[in-house]
């Protein structure tokens, strides 16, 4: 079983190297805790695709709002990879 939470954190750490990702609150929105804009969310999606072959259609971008929602939305996708 893939550790989806860690996968997302690793991606954020790579696309926003100046951000501290060590103490993220799972239920608070990522945008509130980090300096992430829509361009950064696109990068999260693109990295998921590039590294893990997981596709996130544009209408589902809001489902990546928190770490918890990332885990619940992405886990089934990782299970089928």
């Amino acid at each position: 079983m893939a550790d989806v939470r860690q996968i997302v954190i690793d991606i954020i750490a790579d696309i926003a190297p100046d951000e501290d990702v060590s103490n993220l609150d799972d239920v608070k929105s990522l945008r509130e805790q980090l300096d992430l804009d829509s361009m950064d969310f696109l990068d999260i999606v693109m990295e998921l695709r590039k590294r893990h072959k997981v596709e996130v259609p544009q209408e589902d971008y809001p489902k990546l709002a928190t770490l918890a929602s990332c885990v619940s939305y992405l886990s089934p996708k990782f299970a089928t990879v």
Binding site: M39, V56, P57, Q58
Partner: protein
């Protein structure tokens, strides 16, 4: 040859777009007509007359706008670093000392700390400071990145807030000459971009000039394995009967891709397509630049500004010169006046005048050289009057004209800030063909790169994701 995307032009926007696409495994082809990258922000060299060897000069880059301190977030420059995965330190930014807007009897200084400009306005236009604060509030809350907004006049917007016409002229002067394709006015969304990037954020210069930026971008392009070809002019954009772009012809060879991003200008791009009823207008603003090298730097007590926006009357005229050039206003750039610069060694000054393309085009060679000589003399006397007491000996000078700009950038009529018909969402009447760079509507070097990034994201990455 088949690619996932073709980028026309290896200037700031084309390189940035190419990096974004290649970063996510797109097979990218970048085609550039010139033998080196940079487009309007490039470089050249000249042989030294006296002591041999060569001198290197930048074109375009006077300063890099959108200055941020290391670690500052949420700004255009920090977005650019993240999107291109570049590090702040790689740019080796040297912050400006300060710059000034110099009109008869009054000057306004500004620096990378906005407080300086606020203090200057409150001291020199005390009755207007509240209005100026209102303007800054309007600028702060305006979403200039909204791709759906149309043209609105900045002058009209300013008149509603500020009563003193001289202050309006002074605020507009640097913003117009550092980016407006329109004469005597600019689109309000562009005004906001410029106000933020010049007055809120400020100026710096990468150590090593424009080549520092270009070598960072070229290294990324090469590391990512994008195909980049120089001296390769696109002569035709291939369009299906259904109106869909599907490739280009360059050096007689056909290249195919489902996405084509063109950075060469909107009118210039349209000319490569089959005839349609669309004629984006060619912008009229073109310039002359003189570069002078002295045997020593101008001492700081004789001139400590990084840029002087000079105007000799109370009204600022931003339009093509009626004569060959207009010496009533100028941008004077002192590339030595940066916080980290040493004061020994040779000194350089660059002066930009507004010009008139058709006048220069019609000159015979001998008259052309003679006219350039006049520009040089006029520029030199302005430098002397702005740096009273400076006795440096002139070692070298070089002048480029609208014809030089046209010759090396292929922008029609030597236009520098592109067409006055922008396409903010990058779309053209042809499916799969998009405009990036100045004619998409973002400004300056940072703006050009962000244009390439956001159009590549929108039309190259997100679009592809939907399939």
């Amino acid at each position: 040859m088949n690619y996932d995307a073709i980028v026309i032009g290896a200037g700031m926007s084309g390189l940035a777009a190419g990096i974004r696409l290649a970063m996510f495994d797109k097979k990218v082809l970048i085609l550039e007509k010139h033998s080196i990258p940079g487009g309007l922000n490039s470089y050249y060299q000249r042989k030294n007359f006296d002591k041999g060897g060569i001198r290197q000069f930048d074109v375009g880059l006077h300063v890099l706008t959108n200055f941020i301190k290391k670690g500052e977030k949420g700004k255009p420059f920090s977005k650019l670093l993240k999107q291109l995965r570049l590090s702040y330190d790689d740019f080796k930014l040297c912050p400006q000392t300060h710059s000034k807007i110099l009109f008869p009897d009054v000057e306004l200084k500004f620096s990378n700390e906005f407080e300086l400009l606020l203090n200057e306005v409150s001291e020199k236009f005390p009755q207007e400071i509240d209005n100026f604060l209102k303007l800054t509030e309007k600028v702060k809350t305006f979403n200039e990145l909204d791709l759906s907004i149309g043209y609105s006049s900045s002058r009209e917007a300013l008149k509603e807030i500020i009563k003193d016409e001289l202050l309006i002229e002074m605020i507009l002067c640097p913003l117009l000459i550092y980016g407006s394709a329109w004469e005597d006015d600019m689109d309000f969304a562009q005004f906001v971009i410029m106000f933020k990037s010049l007055y809120f954020e400020g100026f710096s210069r990468p150590e090593g000039g424009v080549r520092t930026i270009l070598s960072l971008l070229m290294k990324k392009i090469n590391d990512l394995g994008a195909d980049i070809r120089f001296k390769t002019a696109v002569t035709k954009i291939l369009i299906k009967d259904s109106g869909e772009a599907f490739g280009v012809v360059a050096n007689g060879e056909e290249f195919y891709a489902p996405v084509i991003l063109s950075s060469i200008g909107y009118p210039e791009t349209v000319r490569l397509t089959p005839k349609i009823d669309l004629n984006p207008r060619i912008g009229a603003m073109t310039f002359l630049e003189s570069i002078f090298v002295f045997d020593k730097k101008i001492p700081l007590d004789q001139n400590d500004s990084t840029i002087i926006f000079y105007n000799d009357s109370k009204k600022y005229s931003y339009r093509p010169a009626t004569d060959y050039f207009d010496s009533s206003s100028a941008v004077v750039c002192f590339p030595d006046n940066y916080e980290t610069n040493k004061q020994d060694g040779e000194g350089t000054v660059r002066i930009t005048y507004m010009a008139n393309y058709s006048q220069w085009r019609d000159l015979e060679r001998a008259q052309y050289d003679e006219m350039k000589e006049k520009v040089g003399q006029s520029s030199l006397s302005l430098i002397r009057s702005l740096s009273q007491g400076f006795d440096g000996k002139l070692l070298f000078k070089d002048i480029f004209s609208p014809m030089t700009i046209e010759r090396y950038t292929w922008h029609l009529n030597g236009t520098v800030y592109g067409s006055i018909d922008k396409t903010r969402d990058g779309k053209t009447p042809f499916k799969n063909l998009f405009i990036i760079g100045t004619d998409q509507g973002f400004l300056g070097i940072v703006g050009a790169m962000l244009s390439g990034i956001s159009m590549a994201n929108l039309h190259g990455l997100m679009g592809a994701n939907e399939i």
